[in-house]
Each structure stands twice: as C-alpha cells, then as structure tokens.
C-alpha cells in the first residue's frame, strides 16, 4: 500500500441489522494530516461507519487498514490501541471530577517512595504534566479544579480532546461536535479542531452542518442510504464556497442523479 498517504483505508464495508442494510460496500479513506468531514442525511450510515472504525460495531464484510496494516477492530479497546479515539456527543467524561482527574482516569501515576507501597497516586506529577500538555495544545479551559459537569459543552469537548491527545491518540473521530452548541460556542469548537490538527495525524468530523464542515475540513466523504455517494476535495473549490456547498448538498440528496 505504498504510494498513497492513507492512515485509514477501509474497503467494501457492509453492515446489516437483520434485513436492514446499514452500509453496503462502502470504501473510506483518511489521508495523513487532513480534517475529513463525513456527511450524509439521517440514516445514511455515518454513525454505523464510525462505530465500525471505533470498535463499537463489527462489520459483516470488508477490510480495514490502519497505517497500511490490515487490522481487526473488535472492541473500543482495539481502536484505542491503534491510536483512534472517538469523541461522542455524550462525551465519555467523568462529570463528577475535575480536569486532571479526567485526563488520568484509570491511568493514574503511582507515587514514589512510601506512597508507592500504599499504592498511592502521584497527584502533583499528574497535575504538572496535564498543565504542561494543555499549554502545547492551545486549548482554553477555565478553572482546572472545576468539575466537568459545570463546564460548557465546548469546554467539555476540550477536556475530551486533551485527554485523547495526552494519551497519544493520533486519529480523532468527532461525532457531531457542534450539534448541541450555540453559535459562539460552535465557533470556538471549530477553531479548536483546526488548532489541534498539528497535534494529530488526522481528524474525522461527522456533522449535519455543511457550513461548519466547509469552514474546517480539507475534504468530505458523503454517504447516502448506506452507500458512498462520493468525495469532494476542497482544494478544487478555492474561493467558490457556495458552489462547494451546492455540490455537497447534491451528493447528500442525490439531486445530481435526477439532473443527469
């Protein structure tokens, strides 16, 4: 698989739920360094495809390569190990705990000396490292001692993203990151996604919002009724964003089929 710069490449992915076909022979690729939009109408198969990539669902057929190696993703842990983290709308955060605890949940550093014998955690070291990381990622968070449940939707996503990057995830999948947010908050999250691009190998963003995806993405893949309707590279549309918008809508709705 040399020659291309695909970090994820899926071929012929099909998924059936009983008699219902959710995905049929879908090809998918994520290129190194890009923000990829995954768009489509309700029921187009976006969520199913993402769940397959993140290990929540196992496809009926098809193969997946990550960094050029064929892999089996049978559980979220498998995806984790491959460096893929999915950030869902309901965010797998610990709302009852603060920023540092959220970063280190389940992976706390063990203290040294006497504390090591008592299996104590090294709170000071975890705090310093978390603060260090947040400086590099250029994400703004208010009070770090605050419980995440009191943070805004955008800030909560920032916590989830920081955690993913802290633990060395290289590919982040974001499911409808702006769906529940107001205009201002959405803008912040979109900025944040562009900012973290340099820390990652690739980002997949699933969304309904075409304006948002045009603002941040390099390319979109469009799904329609469980099949791949097409892919659009934004480079070809420099300064022609209304045309780009129209072409995406056409792919989503299938209007070009009727036209031609």
């Amino acid at each position: 698989m040399s020659g291309n710069n695909y970090i994820i490449e899926a071929k012929g992915i099909s998924k059936y739920f009983g008699a219902v076909t959710a995905l049929e022979g879908v090809d998918f690729e994520l290129k190194k360094g890009e923000i990829l939009g995954l768009v489509g109408d309700n029921g187009a198969g976006k969520s199913t495809l993402i769940k397959i990539l993140s290990g929540a669902l196992i496809p009926n057929s098809g193969k997946i390569e990550v960094y050029g190696k064929e892999v089996n993703i049978h559980s979220p842990q498998d995806a984790f190990k491959l460096g893929i983290e999915t950030i869902y709308q309901d965010l797998a955060l610990f709302n009852n705990l603060n920023f540092v605890k959220n970063i280190f949940g389940g992976r706390e550093y063990r203290a040294k000396g006497l504390g090591k014998l008592l299996y104590f955690a090294d709170d000071r070291r975890m705090k310093t490292e978390a603060l260090d990381k947040i400086k590099n990622i250029s994400i703004n968070l208010p009070d770090l001692e605050q419980k995440t449940e009191t943070l805004s939707g955008g800030q909560r996503q920032a916590v989830a993203i920081t955690r993913a990057i802290f633990w060395g995830r290289k590919i982040i999948i974001m499911d409808e990151p702006t769906a529940a947010l107001g205009v201002k908050e959405s803008a912040k999250v979109l900025d944040m996604i562009m900012n973290i691009k340099q820390n990652l190998d690739g980002i997949i963003v699933i969304t309904h919002n075409i304006e948002h995806i045009i603002r941040i993405a390099d390319r979109v893949i469009v799904l329609r009724t469980g099949k791949r309707a097409g892919s659009i590279d934004f480079k070809e549309y420099k300064d022609r964003s209304s045309e780009l918008h129209n072409d995406i809508v056409k792919l989503i709705t299938g209007a070009e089929l009727i036209a031609s």
């Binding site: 979220p76 842990q77 984790f80 797998a92 955060l93 610990f94 709302n95 009852n96 705990l97 605890k101 949940g105 389940g106 992976r107 706390e108 063990r110 203290a111 504390g115 008592l118 299996y119 104590f120 955690a121 709170d123 449940e149 009191t150």
Partner: protein, 317 residues
C-alpha cells in the same frame, strides 16, 4: 472572606456545625446527655457503625448500595458465638466468621456485578436471607463462650475501649485510602461514568465485586465486635444498622447516583444520626414516633441530594 467561603463550601464543615449545635441544644435541654454512661453509649453505637461506614461510603461512591449489612453483622455475631460455644479457639472462630462475611459479600457482589441484577434487589434479598439464617441458627441469643472474648471490645488503652479506637482507625484509614490510594479512587470514576471507566481500562466488574466483599467483611468485623461487647450474640442485633449507616452516608454527601462523597463527611453525619437517636431516647419520644422521625430523616436527606443533583443538571443545560 474567601478562605471562610472555601471552608464552608465543604459539606463537612456545615455538618460539623450542625453536630455542635445539636450537642449544645440536646445537652442544655437534657443535662443527662453529658453523663458518662450516655456519652459512652453514643460512642459505642457510633463505633459499631463506623467500622462499616468507610466501606459503605466507597460502595456508594462507586454507584453501589448495600442494604444487607445489618443482617451480615447480625449473622456474623451469631456465627462467632456459636463457634466458640462449640469449643473452637477464639482466633480460629474469628477467622472463620470473617471468611463467612467475605462469602456473604461475594454472593451478593457476584449477582450484582457479573449477572447485572440491581443492587437494591440483590441486597434486599441478602438482608432477608441472611436475616432469616440468623433466626434459623439461633433464635433469641447465644452466650456462654470464654469471658476473654469480651476483651476484644472492652479492653482499654489509655482508658479508651479498643472498639472505639478500632472504629476511629478504620475511619481514618478509609478516608486516606479513598483520597490517595489508586485502587479505592477507582470508585469515583466508576460512579461518575461506568462506561467511560470501562473504556479507560478500569476493571469495573471485578472492582465492584471487591467493594461488595469489603463491605460485608467490615460488617462481619463489626458483628464480632458487637458480640464481644455484649458477651452475647442477639438475633435482633443489626436490625437498624443498615438504616443508620445509609442515612449517614447520604447526609454525609454521597449520592445514590454515585460519584461523590467522603468518609469524613459520612462520619460526621453518623455522629449526627447517633445524636438524633439519642435525643429521641432522652426526650422519651414514643418508640413508634421514633421510627417516624428516623424514616423522615432519610427521606429529607435523599430529597436534598436529589434537589442538589437537579440544580447542577439545570446549571449545565
């Protein structure tokens, strides 16, 4: 001002204040409150519950719940008494009783964490089944075992009975472990978001099982102490302990939803609950009204818990 505000933002501070006010109020209205017999009575009752309290708090924080501790306590008290009466040496009787406690917790914990049955249902059944076992093996009371066993609870170090020292040590140890120890801290993650806890690699089922075993184990320890203190095991022992402990844990700041609470908060609340029980006795409140008051306290505590939860939920929305 800021420091003061910070201090009072801790639930523990408010609780401590309430306890002080209660002591002054009860003491000034009923001077008998300060008699050494009354004070030691309160301390003894706090001690038995405090032994179980830390484990119960951990369990609550992890999102669990155990209604059966009273029956486990009672049954353990009977088992240790029967074993010694049958001629077994004291240390061996204690060890076997503790193993029984572990087994009682393991059975309930297995149903809850591995079979996924609701903890309310499982521990309520545990409460019934272990409670029935008490009456099956010994109706009334069991006594007639070596006097020296009584020393376990009543031996005094610097004039303080061992049971009180042991209880305070238990509270301190659990408080420190819950704050610093990586194993116990997992409870906050599990109670906060169980799916996320699993995703970050916490072995949720196993840890849950261990927390249930630990709670029953501590209940068995408390049962052994109680039998030692009374020099006899009573089949009614433990009938109200679960209620008192759960009330204290909730008033102390833990939530039925899990994810929060501290052992210190539970402990101060436990003192409050003990004072309340004592006040009802000192004011000679009718036994049945007594239970009404205690029931209402728990409901009010849960009501406050739910209201606070709702407010934070609204704040987020």
């Amino acid at each position: 001002m800021k420091v003061l505000k910070k201090i009072f933002s801790f639930r523990e501070t408010t609780l401590l204040l309430i306890v002080l006010i209660a002591v002054i109020a009860i003491g000034s209205l009923r001077p008998a409150f300060f008699s050494s017999i009354n004070i030691f009575g309160i301390l003894y009752s706090i001690s038995v519950n405090a032994i179980i309290l830390g484990a119960m708090t951990v369990l609550f924080i992890s999102g669990g719940f155990d209604m059966a501790v009273g029956s486990v306590l009672g049954l353990a008290g009977i088992i240790v008494a029967l074993l010694m009466k049958g001629g077994m040496s004291i240390p061996l009787a204690i060890i076997i009783t503790l193993i029984c406690g572990i087994a009682m917790g393991a059975i309930m914990g297995y149903f809850i964490s591995y079979l996924g049955i609701n903890p309310f249902i499982v521990t309520m059944s545990g409460w019934f089944v272990y409670g029935a076992l008490i009456l099956l093996v010994a109706y009334g009371n069991v006594s007639g075992f070596p006097k020296s066993f009584g020393l376990l609870a009543s031996y005094k170090i610097l004039k303080v009975p061992v049971i009180i020292i042991f209880a305070i040590l238990t509270v301190i140890i659990f408080e420190v472990l819950l704050r610093r120890n990586m194993f116990f801290r997992q409870s906050y993650y599990m109670g906060g978001n169980e799916t996320a806890a699993q995703l970050v690699g916490i072995k949720v089922k196993k840890v849950k099982l261990i927390f249930y075993i630990l709670t029953s184990f501590m209940a068995a320890v408390a049962g052994i102490f109680l039998t030692s203190r009374f020099q006899a095991a009573y089949s009614v022992a433990g009938s109200e302990n679960a209620f008192q402990i759960i009330t204290a844990v909730i008033i102390g700041g833990a939530s039925l939803k899990g994810g929060k609470g501290t052992v210190l908060g539970s402990f101060i609340a436990l003192i409050f609950v003990a004072l309340l029980y004592n006040a009802l006795v000192l004011f000679k409140v009718d036994l049945y009204w007594n239970k009404v008051v205690i029931g209402l306290t728990l409901i009010i505590a849960v009501f406050i818990d739910v209201t606070v939860e709702r407010r934070t939920a609204l704040m987020r929305a």
